[in-house]
């Protein structure tokens, strides 16, 4: 079972289709949830997920507006997708029949 923070970060990474990095992941989370996570928190979660083999990273190009620093892009690994699915369906099953208005489709 994944932690809530891990789920959110992984979902945001999935949405960005393998091109996401710190800043865009932060924006994606803010847009979807309204939560303003710090980049430190996001990176810490990413490090943890990468250590577990649930996401993978590659270094990108240096950019002037990053002070000449490179980006690190993240993508969810197949193992990560599998665990994410299991985690979310577990949530679904827990919520099933509770008349919370969660069964939208």
């Amino acid at each position: 079972m994944l932690g809530e923070l891990e789920q959110i970060v992984m979902l945001a990474t999935l949405r960005l289709g393998g091109d996401g990095y710190g800043v865009t992941i932060q924006d994606a989370i803010r847009r979807a949830t309204g939560r303003d996570l710090t980049l430190g928190t996001i990176h810490k979660t990413l490090v943890r997920l990468e250590a577990k083999g649930l996401i993978a990273s590659r270094m990108g190009e240096a950019e002037a507006r990053r002070g000449g620093r490179r980006k690190r892009h993240y993508d969810v690994t197949p193992a990560g997708v599998k665990l994410l699915k299991a985690s979310i369906s577990a949530l679904r099953r827990m919520a099933a029949g509770l008349a919370l208005g969660l069964e939208t489709r």
Binding site: G22, T38, G40, K44, V47, R65, R66, G67
Partner: protein
């Protein structure tokens, strides 16, 4: 890019989250800043700070950062640690001088700390080795001085009968046990104990059985338990020892058990044999006023010491109402056994733990200082390794590994030092330190070593990294300026100031203890201790069972010793001043009857042969000493009293011709024929006690254990063997013990203070040497860095005196700062030494001055060499550099 993120925040990020590993994180932060700054630069700055702090707190200590971000990610952390250690060993092997100095410095400090810890551990830190040790207590009667150390048997049995808080109670008395063999006799300390004594403690003999109720009958003689050591030494570990009959003090006793090797009697640590107490209400020695027993008890489960204390106090008050003439100060006290037995040694052990802690800090400071100096020189090495791809983390790990290797070497060497020093220290320890036999280098000592090793490794690894970090930070803040020297200098100077302060603390302690001992030795003992040989003799066994045979033996011994060349005077006494004995009696004056006889002053009894006061050179202030003839009179008893006792009994009156009675109303009267000077009986540091002297022929029993004192011409130790032979000539089987000199008896009575002093001085001297090395190192480094400056100054006409003053001033500032801090700390902390001081206030200005002067002088000496080198700088060479 009109706006730039806050530089300080950026520098912090760079410092704590180095680019090599965290490029993407810092990049994200900067990008976020740029994006926000397009609309609101102010908000962007605030946001950047917030993001920076979050990133630092979230990521700095992230254990995975190395594996996740660095090119080393495939290497396991264990592997990288191993390779770091291999590299460290190579690096340290190359820097031999550095390694040897660090390991030696640390080994001495770790060894000292471990040894002191091992001594203090059984006595005051760990619990007594008995089941439920917190239930063990001692019970005392109140007395004028607080509590009376001994209790009468009737009181013990009354309290035992009435108390509800104890599961067991027992009484214990001292017992001098002389084992008489066919060819020899050996004297041991022993104890007479209630049969429940070992059950109360929760220990059982390893061989044979313990005492049972049937053993402890009135005037019991038979059963005896011996120590494991005695069994091995005197009985050759004979497995059939149980049931063996042994002649002890001329009485046949049966060995019924042998205690375990680890058993050490807490009440009498030197005890080798135990017999039952054998007291009943009708026994001569079981009266309430016969205060010679120690009263030990075990609390029932769930009963607190405070509860027991209240109950016992109530019972004691009740007893003093029932027997109003027996108790001078009504009331009773219950104290924890461990608190009680450790109470005397605790202050000195705590002070030594503090001192050795200070020494350890200085040693760590010193090696850290060396490591810092070395790190500066290794800048190039680190730069090359960084250029080859080693991250900041990797370099920090490398430094930690170096510290770990050094500290581990020092830990091993320190354990060896402790193993060597410990037996030596234990042999110097006074018997007052409890549980001497339990002192060993055990697992807890090794744990202490391991903890110290880890701390040293951390400090040695972190300090250079921290210093390196500060340098980069400063560089970032004021780019272009050279701040290296300043920063490195500040760190090292701080360390040196700390070292000087700690050394000052230790030296001040040493000076205070030294002054105390000097004051103590100046104390008038009341007799002349120089040129006195003392030895214990015992007239016991069947040969001395006839009445008068003991006295006859004494006469023959005195005669034989008097004939030894070099002997001026010889006498005997049943107890020696400052010898650690305790034999006191209440003294009542015939013309001053008291309503409550317990209020009579207690005085030390000296039962002696007629020449005693002359041999000891105890002055006679009024009247005269015994004549040989009058001591043979068994009816008209005569006595001498000490000046203090005379003034207490008959203030303003002439005591000569007055009568006193000791030890109760049934006893005979003694006529006072002389007044002697006061003698310090319990200790040079104790208050003056009262004394009375009786001739041994007139005392109501024959004292078979006496101490012979012989005043000799010349060196006492040279005459001692001849005296010994003379005694042996009278009776070859007569046990003799403790052939020594009075000076040594006094030295033993001050052993605890001497040991404290010796260790404080030793630690102080080591600390001083280390602090001096620290000052020297900093100044030498500074002179090196300022070579150009000195060259310029010399070229511009500065005299060598002016240059030397520059360096000396720098050293003086360090020393003065350290001195000031150390002096302040010494003035505050020295009160913890108070119980160890004598005749000196904890803030004694002379002691402080002595400490400060030594530090100042040695610090100055440490400055001289670098100062000389500075004056020799060749301007031309300096410019060419």
């Amino acid at each position: 890019m009109s706006h730039r993120p806050p530089r300080i925040a950026l520098a912090l990020l760079d410092q704590l989250l180095p680019e090599e590993s965290f490029e993407a994180v810092t990049g994200d932060l900067v990008e976020r800043f740029e994006r926000t700054a397009e609309s609101s630069p102010m908000r962007a700055r605030l946001q950047f700070w917030r993001e920076t702090l979050a990133a630092l707190t979230q990521l700095q200590w992230l254990p995975d950062r190395i594996t996740a971000f660095t090119p080393y990610s495939r290497e396991s952390r264990m592997q990288s640690l191993l390779s770091d250690i291999r590299l460290s060993v190579r690096v340290l092997a190359r820097a031999k001088g550095f390694t040897v100095i660090c390991v030696a410095t640390l080994a001495i400090a770790i060894g000292a700390a471990t040894a002191i810890f091992s001594i203090a551990n059984p006595a005051i830190l760990s619990a007594l080795p008995f089941p439920r040790p917190e239930q063990l207590v001692m019970v005392f009667e109140r007395s004028k001085e607080g509590v009376s150390s001994r209790t009468g048997y009737a009181t013990i049995s009354d309290i035992t009968e009435r108390a509800t808080v104890f599961s067991h109670t027992a009484a214990a008395a001292d017992w001098d046990a002389t084992f008489i063999g066919e060819h020899d006799a050996e004297r041991f300390r022993g104890m007479r104990v209630s049969w429940k004594y070992f059950d109360l403690l929760g220990v059982r003999p390893v061989i044979g059985r313990g005492f049972v109720q049937g053993d402890d009958i009135v005037n019991a003689t038979g059963p005896m338990i011996i120590s494991h050591g005695l069994w091995v030494r005197r009985f050759g570990s004979d497995s059939s020892i149980v049931g063996r009959e042994v002649d002890v003090n001329g009485v046949k006793r049966v060995v019924i058990g042998v205690m375990p090797p680890s058993y050490e009697d807490v009440l009498e640590p030197e005890s080798q044999a135990w017999r039952v107490l054998g007291y009943g209400p009708t026994n001569n020695s079981s009266c309430r006023g016969c205060r010679h027993l120690q009263f030990i008890a075990r609390l029932k489960p769930g009963v607190s010491r405070e509860q027991a204390d209240r109950e016992v106090n109530g019972l004691a008050l009740q007893l003093s109402k029932e027997h109003p003439t027996e108790y001078a100060t009504p009331g009773g006290v219950v104290l924890g056994l461990q608190d009680r037995i450790a109470s005397q040694a605790k202050p000195v052990l705590l002070a030594l733990l503090g001192a050795v802690g200070a020494l350890l800090l200085i040693a760590i400071a010193n090696v850290t200082n060396l490591q810092l100096a070395r790190a500066i020189r290794r800048d190039e090495e680190f730069a090359v390794r960084a250029a080859l791809g080693a991250g900041r983390g990797r370099l920090a790990h490398q430094l930690f590994a170096e510290g770990l290797v050094l500290a581990t070497l020092a830990g091993v060497a320190g354990t060896v030092v402790a193993a060597v020093a410990l037996p030596l220290l234990v042999s110097l320890l006074p018997a007052a330190v409890p549980r001497l036999q339990a002192i060993r280098l055990d697992a807890s000592a090794l744990f202490v070593v391991a903890a110290i090793v880890l701390v040293v490794a951390l400090v040695m690894g972190v300090a250079p990294a921290w210093q390196a970090g500060r340098r980069r930070l400063f560089d970032a803040l004021r780019s272009g300026t050279r701040t290296l020297g300043l920063v490195h200098h500040r760190a090292r100077s701080g360390i040196v100031v700390t070292e000087v302060a700690l050394a000052m603390l230790l030296l001040a302690g040493a000076a205070l203890l030294g002054r105390s001992l000097m004051r103590l030795m100046d104390q008038n003992a009341g007799f002349d201790a120089s040129g006195l040989v003392t030895l214990d003799i015992l007239a016991t066994g069947t040969r001395y069972s006839e009445p008068g045979s003991v006295l006859a033996n004494h006469e023959r011994v005195l005669e034989a010793v008097r004939a030894v060349p070099g002997v001026l005077d010889v006498a005997m006494t049943h107890q020696l001043p400052l010898g650690g004995n305790w034999d006191r009696y209440g003294v009542a004056a015939m013309d001053k009857p008291l309503a409550n006889p317990s209020l009579a002053p207690d005085a030390d009894r000296y039962t002696v042969t007629p020449d005693f006061v002359r041999a000891m050179r105890i002055p006679i202030l009024r009247g005269r000493s015994f004549t040989d003839a009058e001591t043979r009179d068994t009816i008209a008893r005569v006595t001498m009293v000490s000046d203090a006792l005379a003034k207490r009994l008959w203030p303003g009156e002439d005591p000569i011709g007055k009568y006193i009675r000791v030890s109760g109303p049934t006893r005979p009267w003694w006529r006072v024929i002389g007044v002697t000077g006061n003698v310090r009986h319990t200790g040079l540091d104790a208050d003056v006690t009262y004394q009375f002297y009786t001739a041994e022929r007139q005392w109501w029993w024959e004292e078979n254990a006496m101490t012979l004192v012989a005043r000799v011409r010349g060196e006492p130790r040279a005459v001692a063997p001849a005296i010994r032979e003379a005694v042996r000539g009278v009776d070859p089987l007569q046990p003799m013990a403790a052939v020594t000199t009075m000076d040594q008896v006094i030295a033993r009575s001050t052993a605890q203070r001497r040991l404290g002093l010796v260790l404080f001085v030793a630690f102080g001297v080591i600390a001083l040497l280390l602090a001096t090395a620290g000052i020297y190192g900093v100044l030498a480094g500074s002179v090196n860095e300022r070579t150009r400056e000195f060259g310029v100054r010399t070229a511009l006409g500065a005299t060598s005196g002016a240059i030397a003053r520059l360096v000396l001033r720098e050293g003086a500032v360090l020393a003065a700062a350290g001195l000031a801090i150390g002096l302040g700390a010494a003035l505050v902390l020295s009160r913890y030494l108070r119980t160890l001081l004598f005749g000196v206030e904890p803030t004694d200005p002379i002691a402080m001055l002595v400490g400060a002067t030594i530090i100042a002088a040695v610090a100055l000496a440490a400055c001289l060499i670098p100062a000389r080198r500075a004056t020799r700088v060749d301007p031309m060479a300096a410019f060419r550099q």
